[in-house]
């Protein structure tokens, strides 16, 4: 099944105008009263029938002659969680027919008006909607109903083709001051271990052919009598590999305004991490395990790649591929990449993948995305017991990772990875004991 693509426009005929019960009522009552008045010699019935006759004739004469069509436009096809977009319906011909549009209730879509009913005036009607959770979804069935003068003729309610939206996760606030280990590229903000063109000061050395003149350090040059230049460390980019565990989605789903589920935390954290590293000109690969139909994203950098990453995250459907062993996800990863495994550590498959990455000698960090509120207030004693057993088992898995040298850090937003990344960089720069060959 292909992922649902955003669809922002649709149009179609609304059908033919048909007489309503109100028009039938006016015609029958007026005609019946008039006949009774004539046959029964009752002029008062003629008086009673007069306004209804006017209503019937007026409604008939003012009936629209052409079958209407509707054009529906969704303001934005791609939203962020909590963003608002307008659905605008334009009726052709823009006659003076009154009407209403009705947007059916759909999960994770708030409507304004909350009833989902808005008037059509001068051929235009609009409803605002707010997407409250990441994901790809249809906005709900939109129906259009038009009425002519005196409610005599009506079109609809006619459903127009569904519109769809992609809601990108709102990345949680994240920032890391620590450098990324193993930078290897040509551009980026990470300090290389070698000297080169960059911004961070290394030393002052004697001028060599090829040095830029603007690097000349004049005070030292004048003092020593020979030309000296300021040398810097090269700036490099790193490769970050983000593995998202979509095997489980624990907790009540309450959207952007409520408490997050484990997958909410995972997806938003992945978005935040991607935004941070791609904003630092690093290269990033995103892979998911446990979710079906997620397009395989290649290595990339920049804002366009961030957009692709967020759209991939929006396509995640929890536990839609339970047979996934994750081997395909970790295939072909750069050995120097920083591997970030985002998982609530509930399904052993993800723990096994972290072990595999670490066993390959890759720098691996597991980001624990289990929300605290899940275990903080269990509903019953049995739930508390179940969580306790589950957490004991989880603790054993975490311990096995730590024993292997894979740090497990809980997701806490900004600075979550600072400490561990700094340690990893220090470890990468430290002298190593090697076997002489």
């Amino acid at each position: 099944m292909r992922p649902l693509l955003p669809r922002t426009t649709s149009s179609g005929p609304l059908g033919e105008w048909t007489a309503t019960a109100a028009h039938t009522r006016a015609v029958l009552l007026a005609a019946g009263a008039a006949v009774a008045a004539v046959l029964g010699r009752r002029p008062d019935l003629l008086v009673l029938a007069a306004p209804l006759t006017v209503a019937a004739v007026w409604g008939h004469l003012a009936r629209p002659r052409r079958a209407p069509e509707a054009d529906v436009t969704l303001g934005r096809g791609t939203l962020r969680e909590g963003d608002v977009a307008n659905v605008v319906v334009r009726v052709r011909p823009a006659s003076d027919a009154d009407g209403v549009i009705t947007l059916a209730s759909t999960r994770w879509v708030e409507r304004k008006p909350a009833s989902g009913i808005a008037p059509v005036e001068a051929g235009v009607g609009a409803i605002a909607l707010r997407s409250t959770r990441w994901g790809r979804r249809q906005i709900g069935t939109l129906s259009v109903t038009l009425s002519s003068a005196w409610g005599a003729y009506r079109v609809g309610p006619t459903d127009v083709p569904d519109l769809a939206t992609a809601t990108l996760p709102v990345p949680a606030a994240f920032d890391a001051a620590a450098p990324t280990p193993h930078p290897r590229g040509l551009v980026g903000l990470n300090r290389s271990s070698r000297t080169g063109s960059g911004s961070e000061f290394n030393t002052i050395r004697q001028f060599q052919p090829g040095d830029r003149l603007r690097r000349i350090h004049w005070p030292v040059s004048l003092r020593t009598g020979t030309l000296h230049v300021t040398s810097t460390y090269a700036d490099e980019d790193a490769h970050v590999f983000v593995l998202v565990d979509a095997f489980s989605d624990l907790g009540p789903r309450e959207g952007i305004d409520g408490r997050p589920t484990s997958l909410d935390v995972t997806v938003r954290a992945a978005g935040a991490i991607s935004e941070h590293f791609l904003g630092s000109n690093d290269r990033l690969t995103l892979r998911t395990v446990g979710a079906a139909n997620i397009p395989r994203l290649g290595l990339g950098s920049g804002t366009k790649h961030l957009r692709r990453v967020l759209e991939s995250l929006a396509s995640v459907a929890p536990a839609s591929e339970r047979r996934d062993d994750g081997q395909a996800a970790i295939r072909g990863v750069d050995p120097n990449a920083l591997c970030l495994v985002l998982s609530p550590l509930i399904v052993p498959t993800t723990v096994g993948l972290a072990h595999t990455l670490a066993a390959r000698g890759m720098t691996t960090v597991v980001v624990d995305t289990l929300p605290e509120h899940l275990t903080a207030d269990p509903g019953s004693v049995y739930e508390a017991l179940a969580w306790r057993i589950r957490l004991l088992s989880r603790e054993a898995q975490v311990h096995s990772l730590v024993t292997r040298g894979v740090p497990v850090v809980p997701w806490r937003g900004p600075g979550s990875l600072d400490h561990v990344l700094r340690d990893l960089s220090r470890r990468a720069a430290a002298p190593r004991m090697g076997r002489r060959r």
């Binding site: 109100a22 010699r41 006017v54 209503a55 608002v84 209403v100 409610g151």
Partner: protein, 196 residues
């Protein structure tokens, strides 16, 4: 009965299209404008019955039970229920008022009938939880006033004919036939409807 004000996270200014809704038990929510239309239907039924009582000189009190029908048939405004209701009211007028009479109470009764018809018709144009923009209410009120104005005109004409002040001369027959021809011309279908 519970009431609820629409809530949601879309808070970008005053919402003039959101209405307080009322829910009767586990039924669907009704907006206050819709309930207002139902009460207008009740008021028009009461007014019609008052006029009928005055015109007929009194009737069985059981007829007053009909006043609550517009409220009881709140969810059937777009069906044949209002037709049956107002048909019954007209039948009651036909049966209870003296034959050949032309009561002045027929004019307010006609206005009440027009208001009741319009209330049911307007109610059928929007869903139960939907509201009514002020512009729509004004438009419908104008239409009802125009339609209701024909009642005193017809009453005056009928009264004049009945009192003998106006005699049905050949010119009147010509004018009547001309009006009938004009009505047929206006109500024709273009192209003519094909016979089944």
């Amino acid at each position: 009965m519970t009431t609820a004000r629409p809530r949601g996270g879309v808070q970008d200014g005053a919402d003039r299209t959101a209405w307080r809704t009322v829910r009767f038990g586990k039924g669907r929510p009704w907006s206050l404008p819709q309930l207002g239309l139902a009460l207008t239907g009740v008021a028009s039924a009461v007014a019609f019955l008052l006029c009928l009582q005055a015109a007929s000189g009194g009737f069985d009190p059981v007829w007053w039970a009909l006043a609550i029908v517009p409220l009881a048939t709140l969810g059937f405004a777009g069906s044949a229920a209002p037709l049956a209701f107002w048909g019954l009211m007209l039948a009651g007028w036909f049966l209870l008022t003296p034959s050949g009479s032309l009561s002045a109470w027929s004019v307010p009764a006609a206005v009440a009938l027009a208001v009741g018809h319009a209330a049911a018709a307007l109610s059928a144009t929007t869903p139960p939880a939907g509201g009514l923009p002020v512009r729509v209410v004004r438009t419908w009120a104008g239409r009802v006033v125009l339609a209701a104005l024909t009642a005193p005109a017809v009453a005056a004409l009928a009264g004049a004919l009945r009192s003998g002040e106006l005699e049905a001369s050949p010119a009147a027959y010509v004018i009547g036939l001309g009006g009938l021809a004009l009505g047929v011309f206006l109500l024709r279908t273009d192209p003519p409807a094909e016979p089944d």
